[in-house]
Symmetry: C2
Subunit: 263 residues, 2 copies
Amino acid sequence: MKPLILVTNDDGVNAPGIAALVEMVRPLGRVIVVAPEEGNSGMSHAITIKVPLRLTKVKEEEGLVIYSCSGTPADCVKLAMSEVVKEKPALLVSGINHGSNSAVSIVYSGTMAAAMEGSLYGIPSVGFSLLDYSYDADFSAAVIHGRPIAARVLEEGLVRGGCLNVNFPVLPSDMIKGVKVCRMSAGSWREEFEKRIDPRGHEYFWLTGSYHNAEPASTDTDEWALTNGYISIVPINMDYTNYQEMEKMKNWELISNKNEATI
Amino acid sequence: MKPLILVTNDDGVNAPGIAALVEMVRPLGRVIVVAPEEGNSGMSHAITIKVPLRLTKVKEEEGLVIYSCSGTPADCVKLAMSEVVKEKPALLVSGINHGSNSAVSIVYSGTMAAAMEGSLYGIPSVGFSLLDYSYDADFSAAVIHGRPIAARVLEEGLVRGGCLNVNFPVLPSDMIKGVKVCRMSAGSWREEFEKRIDPRGHEYFWLTGSYHNAEPASTDTDEWALTNGYISIVPINMDYTNYQEMEKMKNWELISNKNEATI
């Protein structure tokens, strides 16, 4: 029997990007989609606590079942694992996101949160994103070049607790220079809120901003790879400990001696 | 002039935990609070894109100004940095969270997302959490033992892009054994959705679950420290790259040669 592949995203079950992702992985296995009913961009790793979740089967055909879920991308993975799949998936793929999730954007990304959630279940997981925010983005190059990446993860697996952040530049398939395995570029979003006044005279703020690359000259980063026509793959570590800082901070434990002295 | 301290949380501007946090840091500087209007537990690093944000000044007195914001914890930090503070804060503190944010719970935590967002602005940032989910939790030991930690971060700073995840065990002040600088414990939440039927006969699911510690015998983790009566401090790294896996995957770039060969 072909391997089971769980598919989700953050742009919603009806987004063109997830249709492209199903097209990418369908030749590789049996596909189950559990994706949000609506767009969940910027939802990060949010989970739904205050309200219950709904799950709706929206399509079923040979080798493909599609469910929509009322929750976030992370909810979709949890609900799929608990209530939908009968066996552990051999692969989880998330996306294809409409827009970049390179560098620090991973922090805000629902697409990558779903992949990270999959990896917490021990499923080799990959988030795919295309550097084009538009609804009618052309995902054809991503389908072509993403399939061998997904196939290789299926074949080789990934260390437990890891997943991949894959981003595609906006280029025709034959103009893509290749694949670079990279580190996450250092940088941050610089916010500029747009202040407006509502009809009742009250202020409100729209989030805007632009990404600032803190190391444009580094050639081993995902930002560099994408700017230079490569597909970027960043392997993700779910251990967020800063070990260097941890060693430097060992003397902070002196506080404990003071406390113990007062006992 | 005393240093500027930015305060936020995810339980909302009216939560007892943030009042305790203000009490903790007020002796150390001028305090500006920008916190969510409502509870945002489990919101992770979500940002608000679809609707604009509102900002309301709810209190102003000597050395303390409090704003509520209609958005998420990450929104609060971004809006505070863009629209509220006139100088870069010397410290950001988030919490005190009602409930643990140890181990992998950091992934789902709005409290820690706010601290991580602060660190992306280059502000030394600390998230504080107490292992008691109840509304009327006793934060007095956290106030006593958290203050020297906050003071030390103010004094020494933290490497850019880093922040601290501080958790307090549920113990009286004089029963706390001390402070341990730890690594993030490996483990995951095991979900068990509770399925119910609504009055119209349709299924819905409530998220429940319990934390599974993958390494209960390891004595250098935050889970161990908390179980054994210590305050845990985990320094957080905002670079999520898995460098070990990155080296192992270098041969994946062979795909690129194949692509180049077809050009």
